[in-house]
């Protein structure tokens, strides 16, 4: 049988809250506490928190860190201002995506790479084999806990519980601070389409941070709600919408690509070639126009012919209908195109819509 599941530093908190646990990427993670829709709404209307300690966390530090990392990232991390973070891909030479990551630069010579749980080992191996010894490389995956606090009230609550300085963080901003004598990394990022923070603390302090946030009224949320939230925000998920056969252009996430500097990052030539040729397929957002739920693997039909397959699909609690994503030929990926999704033999009419499916109302 497979090896036993890993448990995060917050495992006992989940047990205490009677979470329903499930295996995810080798970890025993909370699927839900009170219910996916209730947790989803808490994030959309107030504040929810997720144990995301299963995600890989790696520091690259020192004066060679920026140039060493630039060789691996599609985004130009050398131009990342201190105190900011950015989404990027790690690509193979042939442009295939090894992982989609967040890169943070809390200090001039300190970079934190946050990787998908399912790719954590792969990314760690990739960093080890590509980051020269002259740049410091440290794996803090198992010695830290990570909590994402998300929702319109998330930042205000964190500022009250942790530090008023957090309100000054810009979107995608990050900083290192101390809280109650412990080192903490904080960034104004997330994976829900809402404002919020992601916090990294030493593993043994994770439960205290979790409990303080709970006392402040933050609703514990499982990976079930994390999935419905990220799908409403039309954020792709590695393993479902992204794999090594997908190139960044097909995802439409060109903001993660920097091609205007001369840096010879892995995958650059393949991406330039793909840009010249144009993408053969594009990840499109599909909105159901009837009852029935798109789920991964369901065929997408046009004039009776299969033209794609649902990669991510489910129910949108905010829209009250099913939403999904599928790779389609550019001619079919046009907003407004009407298609059919085969839901276990029944035809569900869908329409290509602009991303995201749901946009959080923003102040100011």
């Amino acid at each position: 049988m497979s090896s036993p599941l890993l448990r995060t530093p917050l495992y006992q908190e989940h047990v205490r809250l009677r979470a329903r646990m499930f295996p995810f990427a080798g970890w025993e993670m909370p699927l839900q506490y009170r219910g996916i829709i209730e947790e989803h709404r808490a994030v959309r209307t107030a504040a929810g928190m997720f144990d995301v300690s299963h995600m890989g966390r790696y520091w690259i530090v020192g004066e060679r860190a920026a140039t060493a990392l630039r060789r691996l990232t599609t985004y130009n991390v050398t131009a990342l201002p201190q105190g900011m973070g950015h989404y990027s891909f790690l690509c193979r030479e042939d442009g295939g995506i090894l992982d989609d990551v967040y890169v943070f630069r809390p200090a001039q010579e300190r970079f934190l790479v946050v990787a998908n749980a399912a790719n954590a080992e792969k990314v760690w191996g990739w960093l080890q084999s590509h980051i020269p010894p002259s740049a410091g490389l440290e794996n803090v995956h198992l010695e830290t806990a990570m909590i994402a606090v998300q929702g319109p009230k998330a930042v205000a609550i964190c500022a009250a519980v942790l530090s008023p300085s957090l309100t000054h963080l810009r979107r995608r901003g990050c900083l290192e601070m101390t809280w109650q004598g412990m080192a903490m990394f904080a960034s104004r990022t997330g994976y829900t389409g809402e404002d919020g923070l992601e916090l990294v603390v030493p593993a043994y302090h994770g439960p205290l941070l979790w409990q303080r946030l709970l006392e402040a009224g933050v609703v514990p949320c499982g990976l079930g709600a994390r999935d419905t939230l990220r799908l409403e925000a039309s954020l792709p998920l590695y393993g479902q919408d992204i794999d090594e056969s997908v190139n960044p252009l097909e995802l439409g996430l060109t903001f993660a690509l920097s091609l205007d500097d001369d840096a010879d990052f892995l995958g650059r030539e393949a991406i330039l070639r793909a840009m010249r040729e144009g993408p053969r397929r594009i990840l499109a957002c599909l909105l159901a126009e009837g009852r029935g739920i798109m789920r991964p693997g369901f065929p997408v039909l046009h004039q009776g012919q299969q033209v794609g397959t649902i990669t991510s699909g489910g129910y949108s609690p905010m829209l009250g209908v099913s939403i999904g994503m599928a790779f389609l030929a550019p001619s079919l990926a046009q907003v407004g195109t009407r298609l059919i999704v085969d839901v276990r033999g029944r035809s569900l009419p869908v329409r290509v819509v602009r991303r995201p499916f749901y946009r959080a109302p923003r102040e100011g």
Partner: protein, 130 residues
């Protein structure tokens, strides 16, 4: 919590409560809890024949889909249309307002093949074990 004593249960987690040869059918509290937030319930029209332990509809939650199995054979004489707009009633009140269909029993002897509340509670206790 023990299952209600006034009805019978299937291994697929449906219940049927029979009054005057009309069986009201729904899913159990255990089933709704396992499914999580229910978002669609697909039910047959009035007049359709359903057959013992064959699918009569589908239930979809945020995370899963499941077939609904008829505990008894017969003609559908009523359908809970309230579930069209409020499928969450199945979560909130699985033995009451979350009922699904009413069937006029054509083979009452089928009831002998169903589980009592006590037997069903033992059955799910076993199923819940790892």
């Amino acid at each position: 919590m023990p299952s209600p004593q006034d009805r019978l249960y299937t291994r697929e987690h449906e219940w049927v409560k029979v009054e005057d040869q009309i069986g009201t059918v729904g899913i159990t509290d255990y089933a709704q809890d396992q499914l999580g937030d229910i978002v669609y319930v697909q039910l047959p029209p009035v007049g359709q024949q359903v057959r013992h332990m064959e699918p009569f509809g589908e239930i979809e939650s945020v995370k899963a889909v499941a077939d609904l199995y008829a505990p008894v054979s017969g003609e559908v004489v009523d359908v809970n249309r309230e579930l069209d707009e409020h499928p969450e009633l199945v979560n909130q009140d699985p033995y009451g307002r979350g009922w699904m269909i009413k069937v006029r029993l054509s083979e009452p002897s089928e009831l002998e093949r169903l589980m009592t509340a006590q037997a069903y509670d033992q059955y799910i206790a076993q199923e819940a074990q790892p």
